[in-house]
């Protein structure tokens, strides 16, 4: 379907529809919040009944999410230590029709056996597929790293991690997408990094994105699109077919494990519709996790958990933050939007609409690491975290575009459209309202109870029900705390065990953190969209005390 995935340049009916859909999420959120508050004042009995129904729904929902969080975490743990390049070789053999033995040694642990079993099923599907995947030796990778103002301290660990890949770096093109408005020091660092690491890759390009290009906003999407186009031209000059190229879009602080590209290659090869798919790893924020304030740490771990849960439902998974996709698909859909802040999720919707619903995101049970927001002081970090979460919540800008595309004679099956619509709307509205309902508005009926309400059975039963719900919910919280401790990287020597215990106790501030740094930013973003006050891109401050990786990560030998 041909659809202009932008709110700019609209006229007439499209413009009206765009505004109407922009208003809808904010209106829904405010209606729920103000409606419940008003109902608590005017009809506390009815409000209390509705809140009980909501608490029960919320409890079952978090049990549901916790269950899949555990399953996803177990899957992630299963794949930890997997030699992905060996599996890629197995895929090559399977594609060649060879039923030969796997290159890996027989698994000994239950986890390894399960992982192997999953791998065998995938290989069986590859063998049974009428169209065989290409050989891994014909697969190329392009990694675009956007640089707005970050310096060497932030960029170098990521580039080093790419240089240390098990996937042959002779087929890895790294593109540093540098904004022309970046500070001179940052620009100097970028060029210095190019000089230092160019020989480690197929090539390392620095593509400068000019400032003030007509039709573009000052957004990351414009920068990486410009770089991707340069990369496409570079590949075309070398007669590399784009359907054999996987492009990854990374933030400046993204650091990957040595097997990341091998894992990506594996998923690319084993995906039947590889040229109509994105590939989403699990983002973690371990680069500087021990240096950030507790509330920032809790929030970002929560984000990782959310992505883990989302990974268990690939039919509704949407790309987020650093992600990968077929370069052919990227070109076909017209690259990342150049006028939207949420380019990471927008590219999925854009592709979904373009391919009439025949586009999906493949979850990869491997992690890539980024920075927790840390601006030096507690207060500045709090402000920056708020702004960052608001920018994430600005993903609601996709809603009106997706709605216009979906409900304008789209060939996408209506069930798929409905599913995505409900998830998109419910997700954003819940983001903005649930913490406030739970922490604030839920208590209003009891607080504002007049004599009429305070002499009812419900007035005395509601606290009992609420107490039971929260007690049960604490089971989910305990599970989350345990998983967060399992997911956290090994602590540096200067952080004693007591401090780790303190990190576990940080989760007790979730109710407060959820309201201030999750619900309020989401409500802020939705309100801005509803009022037509579109946001400009603001780059999050990230600082590190030192490199997140120990010196044992030695760069791979030069490949030239």
């Amino acid at each position: 379907m041909t659809f202009q995935f932008s709110r700019h340049g609209l006229t007439g009916r499209d413009q009206l529809l765009q505004r109407a859909w922009e208003i809808m999420p904010g209106a829904a959120s405010w209606t729920i919040l103000l409606g419940m508050a008003g109902l608590a004042l005017w009809q506390p009995l009815a409000a209390a009944i509705i809140m009980i129904a909501f608490y029960l729904y919320w409890l079952l929902r978090i049990f549901y999410m916790t269950l899949f969080l555990v399953l996803a975490y177990l899957r992630l743990a299963l794949e930890k230590g997997t030699a992905w390049m060996s599996r890629v070789e197995d895929v090559d053999q399977a594609a060649a029709g060879s039923p030969g033995p796997m290159t890996q040694a027989a698994p000994c642990t239950l986890g390894r056996r399960l992982s192997s079993k999953i791998h065998q099923r995938i290989l069986a599907a590859v063998r049974a597929s009428p169209t065989r995947p290409p050989s891994s030796s014909t697969i190329f990778h392009v990694v675009v790293i956007s640089v707005a103002k970050e310096g060497r301290v932030i960029l170098e660990p990521g580039i080093r991690s790419l240089a240390a890949q098990t996937f042959p770096t002779t087929r890895l093109l790294v593109v540093l997408a540098l904004e022309a408005r970046a500070p001179a020091a940052a620009q100097a660092d970028v060029h210095a990094l190019r000089g230092a690491f160019r020989s480690r890759f197929w090539d390392l390009l620095v593509v400068v994105h000019p400032d003030g290009v007509p039709g573009e906003a000052r957004v990351k999407g414009a920068n990486v699109t410009h770089a991707a186009k340069a990369a496409a031209a570079w590949l075309t000059d070398r007669q590399i077919p784009l359907e054999q190229v996987v492009i990854s879009c990374f933030d400046a602080d993204t650091v990957v494990g040595p097997d990341y590209l091998a894992c990506l290659t594996y998923h690319f090869l084993t995906c039947p519709d590889r040229t109509q798919a994105s590939f989403q790893p699990i983002p973690v924020y371990h680069n500087n996790i021990w240096d950030a304030p507790g509330f920032a740490r809790v929030l970002d771990i929560g984000s990782s958990f959310f992505q883990l849960i989302e990974a268990t439902d690939p039919t509704r998974l949407v790309t987020f933050s650093s992600h990968s996709m077929s370069f052919k698909a990227l070109v076909e859909v017209g690259y990342w939007p150049v006028d939207m802040i949420s380019d990471d999720s927008a590219i999925f919707w854009k592709a979904l609409v373009h391919f009439d619903g025949r586009y999906r995101v493949v979850p990869m049970y491997t992690t890539l690491s980024m920075d927790v927001t840390n601006a030096g002081s507690w207060w500045r970090t709090a402000v920056n975290v708020y702004r960052q979460k608001r920018r994430w919540a600005w993903g609601v800008e996709n809603f009106p575009l997706v709605m216009r595309a979906f409900w304008s004679r789209s060939p996408i099956p209506w069930s798929q459209r409905l599913r995505h619509t409900l998830k998109l709307l419910e997700g954003h509205v819940a983001w903005a309202t649930w913490p406030l309902l739970l922490a604030v508005i839920g208590w209003c009926p009891a607080l504002f109870a007049g004599r009429e309400f305070s002499s009812t059975v419900l007035y005395y039963s509601a606290p009992r029900v609420t107490g039971l719900v929260f007690h049960l919910a604490s089971l989910s919280l305990i599970t989350t705390i345990v998983l967060s401790l399992c997911l956290l990287p090994r602590r540096p020597a200067r952080h004693p065990i007591l401090q780790r215990l303190g990190h576990a106790l940080e989760w007790l501030i979730v109710p407060l953190v959820a309201v201030i740094f999750s619900a309020l930013p989401a409500l802020d973003a939705q309100t801005r969209l509803a009022l037509g006050r579109y946001m400009e891109f603001w780059v999050t401050d990230k600082t590190r005390r030192r490199s997140p990786f120990p010196s044992r990560l030695v760069a791979a030998p030069a490949t030239r």
Binding site: A48, I52, L60, L67, T315, T456, V457, S461
Partner: protein, 420 residues
């Protein structure tokens, strides 16, 4: 496979929600499933709390598992006899009606000790007392303050003694020097007991008990009141003004619609002013007229002997000779609710236990009357305290104080265990 698992789990949770949600709502609303006949019955509950806590609960002569404070749930509508027993205290019972989906509230039930502890706070009979041989003529108190002003008669004449209550013994100070003449009325702010305000013949004076200084106010007044460290004076023209403790910084506070004949009829001097809320004030004349500084202006045309404000609930306790009632000021038109109690000679009344009970000085008896309670309020006679002297009740200590028959001892009796 995980997708299929997720789908099945999703449907399971949806089914669980569809099952649990209505069941939870019905439970919260008080519905109970009855096996025979099969169906639902709407239930009510009884909420119980007592002072002291920990009373054993008997419901229809069957002992309940929990002690107070507790809630008796899942009660089919009807009448129930509730009995509360705690060792060392008189049992308390009440027949209440439970209605469907309603809570019958029996909270702040006062369980009275079988043998109330009587403490001697002050004795003028002790030979070592500097006021040995004196007799108490009058007892004056102010609101909830645990302090009293005693006017005692000695061989040398009248003396004014200031007694700070609250401990095992009262601390006594002689303030006679501040009282050249016996005042018609003395009041003070419980939170600022350093300053006493004495009123006599239309003249108000501030008595500084620390500096032993008398500071008369220049204007003639109809009456005054003290509230929240501020002084409220009623001028002869019916206007009320708020002053600081030195009598300065006058702020107009509205006016009272006094009868046209004003002072000529003998009304006026000695009018008691009390503040209910920021804007609402009441005035009680010596003739028993009760006025308010907003419509309808006159709450009672006469016969009211006293009033005690309950600012937290915007109501005023008033009493006449044979009845006591509460004026609800929060309503659009203030209304008086009279208690089903027939008194003989009511002279004093107090709010007790957060306004849930009334303590009445009726003739020579002290009577405790339940107020905010379900069922018919019950009156219990606590003690014979005589009618010559006023009784003092202090919510802060949970005790009432009275002068014994010899007029030489000030005694204290605990009414509230664990005073709030």
């Amino acid at each position: 496979m995980l997708i299929r698992v997720r789908q099945w789990v999703f449907y399971l949770f949806v089914g669980l929600y569809l099952l649990l949600c209505p069941w939870t709502m019905l439970y919260a609303l008080g519905y109970l499933v009855t096996p025979d006949p099969p169906g639902f019955v709407k239930t009510g509950l009884i909420s119980l709390s007592t002072v002291p806590a920990g009373a054993t609960v008997f419901l229809e002569h069957r002992r309940y598992t929990h002690v107070t404070p507790t809630i008796l749930r899942d009660l089919v509508p009807g009448e129930y006899t509730v009995r509360l027993i705690i060792p060392g205290h008189a049992p308390w019972d009440r027949t209440v009606r439970v209605e469907a989906e309603k809570a019958t509230i029996l909270e702040r039930v006062l369980l009275l000790p079988d043998e109330p502890v009587v403490e001697e706070i002050l004795s003028l009979a002790t030979e070592t007392s500097p006021f040995h041989g004196a007799r108490v003529r009058a007892v004056l108190a102010a609101g909830e303050t645990p302090a009293v002003l005693l006017q005692v008669e000695t061989d040398e004449g009248e003396r004014a003694l200031w007694a700070q209550l609250g401990g095992l013994e009262a601390r006594v100070a002689d303030l006679t020097a501040l009282f050249a003449q016996r005042p018609l009325r003395v009041e003070w702010d419980p939170r600022a007991p350093r300053d006493l305000f004495a009123f006599r013949d239309g003249t108000l004076s501030r008595l500084d008990t620390a500096a032993f200084a008398i500071d008369p106010f220049p204007d003639r007044l109809l009456g005054f009141g003290v509230s929240q460290r501020r002084l409220y004076v009623l001028r002869e023209d019916g206007h009320c003004v708020r002053l600081d403790r030195e009598g300065r910084a006058a702020e107009p506070m509205g006016w009272f619609l006094l009868p046209d004949d004003g002072l000529q009829s003998g009304r006026g001097p000695g009018t008691r002013v009390t503040v209910l809320s920021g804007d609402t004030m009441l005035a009680l004349s010596p003739q028993g007229e009760l006025w308010v500084n907003q419509p309808p202006y006159t709450l009672a045309a006469g016969g009211v002997r006293g009033m005690v404000a309950d600012p937290a609930r915007e109501r005023v306790l008033i009493w006449q000779r044979d009845r006591v009632g509460v004026v609800a000021m929060a309503q659009h038109v203030p209304t008086v609710t009279w208690a089903p109690y027939e008194g003989r000679h009511l002279t004093q009344a107090f709010w007790v236990y957060d306004g849930s009970h009334l303590l009445l000085h009726d003739g020579d008896a002290l009577v405790l009357l339940e107020w905010d309670t379900a069922g018919a309020p019950r009156a219990r006679t606590l003690r014979r305290v005589g009618s010559k002297h006023d009784v003092v009740y202090a919510e802060a200590t949970g005790k009432y104080y009275y002068v014994d028959r010899t007029a030489r001892r000030l005694l204290a009796v605990t009414l509230l265990d664990n005073a709030p």
